[in-house]
Subunit: 243 residues, 2 copies
């Protein structure tokens, strides 16, 4: 495959920048490792039927008032009056099976909102990395790795994951070329891959989570393939893709 | 100095994201290695009096019509009817001495425009890296490294330079803490520093410049300390700072 015909993988480091990266053809992978997209993968792995990602707490409250289960997190803390925060451990068990859950988070659901009109939007985390990469490589399309970041700033953990996806796909397939963002990520990931927690030791959001006593969440969210499902956006719902 | 009292260095990878990083206290270093901020350093090193960075070609044309020298570049090419493009070689020699030059470029002057209301805006390139870092460390303030990128996308060469500044300041002073962007850059720069041209071999804009026969510009723009001056924004003018 000539360079010109290869599909491009690029990384966008903030939902606020997504309009600069948007095109009509690429698949967008939304990434919020700590913890929204990890929690979403876990919910579907435990049998949730649908997730309704919403940007505001008011929208989540409105779904809650209509009788839906609802999760709401701001600044890494579960909001009072909601069923869940964004810890993956909140979404494990029979209480999510067959349910539709509304969810709003500080960063992840904002990124889904930003990419809503893309050709296709899927949800990525370390928990589904292998099944997601295998599926992506079968689609014969460009890929935009959309890091949710922290309040629209670059963050290290989403970047690490985007680097892991880049490395995996680029090493398995000759059909892709890398944008500048992914070139940088590939270097980063090569350094970080053997000790990801050490790499993240100074990351601002990891420190925030550790202060909140969420080291168990951090470790879980960095473990590959614990929830091998692919959440995909269909209209206003995230549903489990049947590959 | 306790962690809480340290000054923050962070990197912003696109002018479009600058509002997310803006604060009232930090010094902004505008970076467009290939080639606007390199050319600006060269112009002052060769005695230019003032540079008027403008966002649009129309503004540059208006200054030209008033008798000023004017540079205009879009998509790496000098525009017809202007005195200069954005090659540093355009700005070497007696023809710039004592002159005021209007300048518009695809990325660099857009970044200056974005940061215009910051506490202070200075211009960074490899050509002035040591004198700039020494000056920055004397200011006792936070630092925002604003990468111009390519049409608001992340690019590799500005990132490499931001990593070089991060590495230099962080290794010489204990007064700084790093934001997530700079943590990533520090890793990147440690890998890239010994062979920067090899690191940039696949960078999209370097390829663009190489296609245009500008390898001489690339090499020059990556050479440290050839134009040891600090351009600073004062009102609508860039002038040479007297440290």
């Amino acid at each position: 495959m000539s360079e010109d015909n290869k599909y491009k993988i690029d990384a966008c480091f903030s939902p606020h920048l997504y309009p600069v990266y948007a095109d009509d053809e690429s698949i967008v992978v939304v990434i919020d490792v700590f913890r929204a997209t990890s929690a979403i993968c876990v919910a579907f792995h435990h049998g949730a039927d649908k997730i309704i990602p919403v940007a505001t707490v008011e929208e989540a409250q409105s779904y809650k008032n209509q009788g839906f289960l609802a999760g709401a997190e701001r600044n890494a803390i579960k909001l009072d009056g909601f069923d869940f925060g964004n810890s993956p451990f909140d979404y494990m068990g029979d209480h999510v099976k067959g349910k539709t859950i509304a969810l709003t988070t500080t960063n992840g659901t904002q990124a889904i909102e930003a990419a809503r009109n893309a050709y296709k939007v899927v949800v990525g985390s370390f928990l589904n990395i292998d099944v997601l990469c295998e599926w992506l490589m079968k689609q014969n399309r460009g890929i935009t790795l959309l890091c949710s970041g922290w309040k629209n700033k670059f963050n290290l953990e989403d970047t690490l994951y985007a680097g892991a996806v880049t490395e995996k796909i680029f090493s398995l397939s000759k059909n892709y070329k890398l944008g500048d963002g992914c070139l940088a990520l590939k270097y980063l990931y090569e350094q970080a891959q053997h000790e990801p927690i050490k790499f993240l030791v100074n990351a601002s959001h990891k420190e925030r989570l550790a202060r909140l006593g969420l080291k168990k969440d951090i470790k879980y969210c960095l473990t590959p393939n614990l929830a091998p499902v692919i959440p995909v956006l269909e209209g206003k719902y995230l549903v489990k893709l049947n590959p």
